[in-house]
Amino acid sequence: MAKKQSEQFFMRLGDRTISFFTTVYEIAVLLVQSIRAVPSVWFYRRQLLEQLYHFSVKTLPIAAVIAVFIGLGATVQGTYQSSELLARYVIVNVIFKTTIIELCPIVLSLVLAGKLGASLAAEIGSMKISEQIEALETMSLDPVGFLVLPRMIAGLLMLPVITIFANFLALFSSFFMSVVVTDWISPQEFVSGLEMDFKPFEMYFGNWIKPAVYGFIIALVGSHFGLKTTGGAKGVGNASTNAVVVSAVFIVIFDYYLGKLLL
């Protein structure tokens, strides 16, 4: 009996592992197809413009709320942990760098993996089950060029824009909390905390490279699960859940490896 159970467990583990690697492989195939579709990006410019709008304007409000509270939260935590052994501007420096380089990009991307990833997987998935993807093909329109590529480019370009916007808000709310509300530090000291050991490369990294990679992941993974949808409404639900879970896992894994690049 016990043996049977353990056998079953390993078989299921094996199936899961295989299906994980199949998914990774299929996502890689979709990536190659999208790269092949790049020359026709001008042809699909209207779709690209729509997605640029969708990925930016519609996500700014939620990004703003998150950024403000990340700024406040990090500052409260930092000031609470501070001791007399460290100059306060050093703590400001730590808060500043962790927020800009790590906290804001990753929290935002995870939230947007939920918002954008789920919605685009559901959108493409419901097109799949209602034969709309096939209808595109019969109109000589490439589903990858028409649907996937514009979303990938939008993710690549717009997540950095959102993150820069969010980082400014986070910085501002941090300043507001530590200087204006609690009077914990003077404005001059706050600024010298920001200037301390300032490396422009780190700013590019946190504001630009990381969010671009995550935006790309969100669009690619979401599109993949959308295009793979089978079955009815339940299939669409599964597609969007899978899109969120898998892109979130990819994001934290990439976050670690991108972080290691800095060292």
Binding site: F43, E123, S126, M127, S130, E131, Q132, E134, A135, L136, E137, T138, M139, S140, L141
Partner: protein, 243 residues
Amino acid sequence: MIQVRDIRKSFDGQPVLKGINLDIPDNATAVILGPSGQGKTVFIKTLVRLIHPDSGSIHYDGEDILRMHAKEWQHFQNNIAFVFQNSALFDFLDVQENLNLFLQMHKSMTARQCQQEVARAINFVGLDEDVLDKFPEELSGGMRKRVAIARAMIKRPKYIFYDEPTTGLDQNNAEKVSELINMLKHEISATSIIVTHDIKLMRDVSDQVALLREGTISFVGGKDEISAQTLDFLYETRGEYDI
């Protein structure tokens, strides 16, 4: 002329199409009649490369479409329009944009010319121009089907495929659709290929009938050659059809 030779297709080891042979002459309306679940949708989709068969060949005027490169096929596809079983209108576009999409992407027409084409198509299928601003979810099933037919006709195709054009419509709408299929054939002088289980539709529109049952074509001929016995055999009924 479309020549289908020995098309086979299985899903997960379950054969659905078991060697289909069929010739469809130019400018004919060919109806492939069969009960539900016999592979009609699978078959009509293999004819336009939406599903790739496991083996067999499909020639359009002597050209094997299964051996065409993607680019060639994309070009050839301009000759083909497909009306899907559940209309498949793009739900993120309104009716105007649904009809316009093909022209906008593939034809060098001015916005004005496109608009005229769209208006013409929508009038042809008997809908008012005020549906143009509506989204597919705001239309009834019958209207959606007519928009789908309008979207197909805007391509001015040589071949037009219909998957169950009357399924899910009431008798009134179903008759309108049959009428449209006949009118459209004359309007754009296309070859029409229809799969359906609707015997009335078959009688109203077909020049040639093929019966599809259990993955093979068991009969090809004119609609008058079909006997009540054949239909009983096809639908596993007894004396329900009088011809």
